[in-house]
C-alpha cells in the first residue's frame, strides 16, 4: 500500500512575470461586477441600444428603404456613442458614468476599508503594478460595454448596410470606434480610481464621481447660457469626450450623394461640438487622467506604510 502525504508540502517552481501577476489581478476584478444584477441591467441597456439599431437596419434593409441617418459612420457617432446628438447628457455616457460609479468606486475604497492593501503589498507587486491592475480592470470592464456594443454594431452593419464600402473605409470605421471607446473609458477610469482612493466608503466615492460628472456638465451649461459664448462647452465631461470621439470619424466624411435609387437627401452633418480642434480637449483629458493617477499613487504611498 502506498500512502501519500496529505499535509503541507513545499512548492518549487518558476515564478511568472510581473505582467502575469497583473493579469491575474485584472481577471479577478473583472469577474466581480457581473455578479451584481444592477450592473447586468445597465450592461444590457448599452447593448439594447445597439440591438435596436440592428433591428432598424434589418427592417430597412429588407424593405429596401435607405436610412440617411445610418449612412457613413454616423450610425456610430450619432446613433450610438453620442446619442442623442447635441444633448449635454448623452444616454451612453450616462450609462457609462453609472456603471463606472457602481463598479469602479469600490475598487480601491474596498481595499482601504478592509485593509486588503496589506495583503496586496505583501505580495511581489509594486504600487505601480497594483495601480495598473486596478486601472486596467476598470478600463477593460468599461470597454466591454463600449467597444462591445460598438463591435456588434460594426458586424451588423457589415451585413446589413446598404452602402458599398472599401476595405480601407471599413477598417477606418473599426479604428474610429476603438479610439472612441478608449476616449470614453480611459479618463473616466482614472478619475473613478482617484475618487475611490480618497475614501474608504464606497458609496461616497461613487457619489463624488457622479457629482464631478454633473457639476462639470451643469457648470458648462450654466456658463454657456449666461455668457452667451461657446467656450464653456469644454467644461462639460460629456462634451469633451463626445467631441473627441466625433473627431475619430472625421477621416471618413459621409458621402455627398447616395447611389441607391429612391434616397432623396442626406441629413446635414451636425457641426463640431467644440470649435477648438482636437488639441485642447485632448490635453484636458490627458491632464486629468495623469492627475488622477498621480492622486491614486500618492494616496497609495501614504497608505502603504500605515498601520
Amino acid at each position: 500500500m502506498a500512502i501519500y502525504d496529505q499535509s503541507y508540502t513545499p512548492w518549487t517552481g518558476t515564478y511568472t512575470s510581473r505582467a502575469a501577476r497583473i493579469r491575474a489581478m485584472v481577471a479577478m476584478e473583472l469577474a466581480q461586477p457581473f455578479k451584481n444584477v444592477w450592473v447586468l441591467v445597465s450592461v444590457l441597456m448599452a447593448f439594447s441600444l445597439v440591438i435596436g439599431w440592428l433591428l432598424i437596419l434589418f427592417i430597412a434593409g429588407s424593405s429596401q428603404v435607405p436610412l440617411p441617418f445610418a449612412f457613413g459612420n454616423r450610425i456610430y457617432r450619432d446613433g450610438f456613442y453620442n446619442f442623442p446628438t447635441g444633448s449635454s447628457f448623452t444616454l451612453f455616457s450616462m450609462i457609462l458614468m453609472a456603471l463606472s460609479a457602481t463598479v469602479g468606486a469600490s475598487l480601491i475604497s474596498r481595499d482601504l476599508r478592509h485593509r486588503a492593501l496589506l495583503m496586496y503589498f505583501s505580495r511581489s507587486i509594486t504600487r505601480v503594478d497594483y495601480l495598473l491592475g486596478k486601472f486596467l480592470s476598470l478600463v477593460l470592464f468599461l470597454l466591454i460595454v463600449t467597444l462591445g456594443p460598438g463591435l456588434l454594431l460594426f458586424i451588423g452593419q457589415l451585413g446589413m448596410s446598404q452602402e458599398r464600402l472599401t476595405f480601407g473605409q471599413r477598417m477606418g470605421d473599426l479604428g474610429a470606434i476603438t479610439l472612441h471607446s478608449l476616449i470614453l473609458t480611459v479618463p473616466a477610469s482614472a478619475l473613478v480610481l482617484a475618487f475611490s482612493s480618497m475614501t474608504n466608503r464606497t458609496y461616497l466615492a461613487a457619489i463624488l464621481w457622479a457629482s464631478f460628472y454633473f457639476i462639470s456638465a451643469s457648470t458648462s451649461e450654466a456658463l454657456r447660457f449666461t455668457l452667451r459664448s461657446d467656450w464653456p462647452k469644454i467644461l462639460s465631461w460629456t462634451n469633451v469626450t463626445a467631441h473627441l470621439g466625433d473627431l475619430c470619424y472625421a477621416v471618413r466624411p459621409p458621402p455627398d450623394t447616395i447611389r441607391i435609387p429612391g434616397a432623396k437627401s442626406i441629413l446635414p452633418v451636425p457641426p463640431a461640438i467644440l470649435d477648438c480642434g482636437w488639441l485642447p480637449p485632448f490635453l484636458l483629458l490627458t491632464g486629468l487622467t495623469a492627475l488622477s493617477l498621480l492622486v491614486v499613487w500618492r494616496r497609495l504611498r501614504s497608505v502603504e506604510g500605515e498601520e
Binding site: 450592473v39 458609496y203 457619489i207 447660457f225
Partner: protein, 263 residues
C-alpha cells in the same frame, strides 16, 4: 419624549458636519458661486440676472439638491448601519418612524439652509463688479423654498433606498439609476413623460415665483410636453413627498439592524 426628539435633532445636526461627506457637501455648495464669480470676473457683457438665473436653473436647482440629498440620505440610513452607529440610535425613547421623520426634517431644513447660502453667494458672485441683481433676496428665498420641496422628496426616496437595501452599493444603485436616468435624461427630452419629473415640477413652480410667468430662454427646452403650472406642480410634489416619507417610515419600522456576522 420631546426632549429625546430634540436630542435626535441635535444628533442629526452634528452628523451633518464633519467627515468627508461634509467636505463633499461644501464643495457642492461652493462650486456654483465659484464658477459664477469666475464668469462675472472674466466674462464680457455679462448680464448678472442671466448669470444668476442660469446657475440657479442649471446648477443649484438641478444637481446640487439631488447630490446633497443623495450624500446625506445614504449616509444617514445605510451608512450609519454599516458604520455600526445605527444600533445606538434605534435603542431610544423615540419610535423609529419618528426618528426618521426627525432626521429627515432636520436634514431637509439644514440642506435648504445650505441651498440658501449657495444661492445667495451665487447671486452676489454674479453681481460682482456690477449692480446687484434686482430682487435678489426674493428670488433666493422663493428658490430655496422650491428647492426645499425637491430636497424633501429626493431625501425621502434615498432614505427609503438606504433602509430597504442590505448593502451600500445596492442602495446607491437603486438611488442613482432611476434618479439620474429619470431626472437628468428625461427632464430635457421632448417627450410626454418629462412633465412627471421632479425637476420639471420644481421648474414649473419656479416660473411664477421668479420669472413672473414669462418663459424666457431658460424654458426653451420645453417642447412637446406640458410644463406643470404652480398648482399642478405643488399637488404632484406634495403627493410625492408624502409618499416617500411614508415609505421611509415603513422601511425604518421594518429594518433589522444586523451585526457584521450577517454578511
Amino acid at each position: 419624549m420631546i426632549q429625546a426628539a430634540l436630542g435626535f435633532a441635535g444628533l442629526t445636526l452634528r452628523g451633518l458636519i464633519g467627515g468627508r461627506r461634509a467636505t463633499a457637501a461644501a464643495v457642492l455648495v461652493l462650486a456654483p458661486p465659484f464658477f459664477a464669480l469666475i464668469a462675472s470676473m472674466f466674462g464680457k457683457h455679462v448680464d448678472p440676472v442671466k448669470l444668476f438665473h442660469g446657475f440657479m436653473f442649471y446648477f443649484s436647482l438641478w444637481f446640487v439638491i439631488y447630490l446633497l440629498s443623495l450624500i446625506y440620505g445614504i449616509s444617514m440610513s445605510i451608512g450609519e448601519i454599516e458604520d455600526g452607529t445605527a444600533g445606538y440610535l434605534y435603542l431610544s425613547a423615540v419610535p423609529k418612524w419618528l426618528i426618521v421623520l426627525i432626521q429627515m426634517g432636520v436634514t431637509t431644513a439644514a440642506l435648504s439652509a445650505m441651498l440658501f447660502v449657495n444661492l445667495l453667494l451665487t447671486g452676489l458672485a454674479a453681481s460682482y463688479g456690477r449692480e446687484l441683481v434686482p430682487n435678489l433676496l426674493r428670488d433666493v428665498v422663493s428658490c430655496t423654498l422650491v428647492g426645499g420641496v425637491g430636497i424633501a422628496v429626493s431625501l425621502g426616496y434615498y432614505v427609503t433606498c438606504g433602509l430597504t437595501f442590505r448593502t451600500p452599493t445596492g442602495a446607491l444603485a437603486a438611488a442613482l439609476f432611476p434618479t439620474f436616468f429619470w431626472e437628468i435624461l428625461v427632464t430635457s427630452w421632448p417627450m410626454k413623460f418629462a412633465e412627471y419629473t421632479l425637476t420639471n415640477n420644481l421648474r414649473g413652480m419656479l416660473l411664477p415665483m421668479v420669472f413672473n410667468n414669462s418663459r424666457g430662454p431658460l424654458y426653451r427646452y420645453v417642447v412637446n410636453f406640458h410644463l406643470p403650472d404652480y398648482g399642478e406642480a405643488s399637488m404632484f410634489l406634495s403627493i410625492l413627498m408624502g409618499l416617500f416619507l411614508i415609505t421611509a417610515m415603513i422601511a425604518a419600522m421594518n429594518r433589522s439592524i444586523e451585526g457584521k456576522e450577517a454578511r
